[in-house]
């Protein structure tokens, strides 16, 4: 009953808002190139369904590739840091610099270096840079925060560093890593969109490009349709990662004591 309410209440609010929006647009006769009503947006969505889905597939591919790359690189870097204090002290500041530098500012450089003929690779690299840091930060914290007594036990039994990593440090890092992944999933999408914006129309073919193009043509309804699709994609990515987190931690971690 409570869970049903969790779904129905937000839906009711959405219906109310959309109705008010539609009514306001009709009542004040707002021009469609300023603010189209929900019904106009739905028509634009249906009319451009094929091309919007193609754009979604393009953006989603970049996002997922960047997300996987960020996970692999972030975890690998964190493991390297956990094995060598020297390496961590030497390289962590550069990871932070990479994180705090606005990606919009370095995206043009990456596009030039990778080349517009390999535009998708450039997009993936830019999105990876955006998504990388939360994975690194989460995994590093998790690998380092393993129970010292457990680490001592593995020493007592003559465990190799690899065994300690595999049996103690990595499982301990899992909740931190998953938390970082939830943030990184959203950031990969943002990174993909920003990269498409910077790449500009004609080269990129994703949703962000559709937004720019629709804006230029004053097809605001199509712009809204692409925007809604983008928001929905972000929600789905977050929900999928939350589900993965709950499933992996459901047996043992406090955070997963209640179903999502």
């Amino acid at each position: 009953m409570k869970r049903l309410a969790d779904i129905l209440l937000p839906l009711a609010v959405a219906a109310l808002l959309l109705g008010a929006w539609e009514g306001a647009v009709a009542h004040w006769q707002v021009p469609a190139y300023v603010l189209p009503g929900p019904s106009a947006i739905a028509r634009a969505f249906a009319g451009n369904f094929g091309s919007l889905m193609e754009a979604l597939a393009s953006t989603l591919t970049v996002t997922l590739e960047a997300f996987v790359a960020a996970c692999v690189l972030g975890l690998a870097t964190a493991i390297a840091f956990s094995q060598s204090r020297l390496l961590e002290r030497t390289l962590y500041p550069y990871a932070v610099i990479l994180q705090v530098t606005p990606v919009v500012a370095i995206a043009p450089l990456i596009l030039i270096w990778v080349g517009f003929e390999r535009i998708n690779l450039a997009l993936v690299i830019i999105a990876t840079i955006v998504a990388f840091f939360p994975i690194l930060a989460g995994a590093t914290l998790g690998l380092k925060s393993a129970d010292f007594n457990l680490i001592d036990l593995t020493r007592l039994y003559g465990a190799s560093r690899l065994q300690t990593l595999w049996r103690i440090r990595l499982p301990n890092a899992l909740p931190y890593l998953l938390s970082g992944m939830k943030t990184a999933g959203g950031l990969a999408l943002i990174g993909a969109v920003v990269a498409e914006f910077v790449a500009g129309s004609g080269t990129a073919t994703g949703l962000a490009w559709r937004i720019v193009e629709s804006g230029n043509r004053l097809e605001i309804a199509t712009l809204f349709a692409a925007l809604a699709l983008l928001a929905l994609t972000g929600v789905v990515i977050f929900a999928a990662l939350s589900l993965l987190e709950w499933w992996l931690l459901r047996r043992w971690h406090e955070s997963a004591l209640q179903a999502p």
């Binding site: 007594n149 036990l153 007592l156 039994y157 049996r167 301990n172 047996r251 406090e254």
Partner: protein
Amino acid sequence: MIALENVSKRFANGVQALNDLSFTVSRGEFVSLLGPSGCGKSTALRLAAGLLAPDAGAVTYPDGKPEIGFVFQDHTLMPWADALTNARLPLDLKRIPRGHADARASAALARVGLAGFERAYPRELSGGMKMRVSIARALCSFIGAAQPQLLLLDEPFAALDEITRNALGDDLLKLWREDGLTVLFVTHSVSESSYLSQRVLVMTSCPGRITANIALASGRDSRLSPATIEAQRVISGALNTAITA
């Protein structure tokens, strides 16, 4: 079994944890290391296990390097693993084949009264049961029958209620007798040490050193038998002398 000779240890923060500490534990003995909090008992135990290296002096094993089981004050279980996997950790790390390791770990769990709880996760177990898994894990440290077997316990029952504590104490005594283990038991409880151990080493703090070595008389069959009460009186006396001295 184990000998600490004139061992000193100073921590990085400058605190002299132990100064000129010497004691021995013979094979098959049950020895308590008793003292107030912060007197360096845990440090001495870590030195005995080889987890810390002394600044001066030596830790030696006259009967050869023993297999060591270690039980911490906190249960120190892996929260992501069930009881069987937790108990199996020493066997896994020594690359014992899975089937054999599972059999050993199940047997160890059964011995501490946890048969049927193999698949339970730590957060599904009570504090006493978690400590039992921790003891089962220590039992799984002992693989080669030829090697001496040393069980080190660092205030294992301090966080438990008295009823659980007593039950676990009796179980520990039983394991010690049945397996011929050598036990070094760190505690700050006079009653625990008087009932469980054959010999009590009294420590004082700042820096930690041993001020009394009390061999307890036999006949301590229960916690309330006259010999146990008498032992408590002797140990308390030694502890008071040590603290006020």
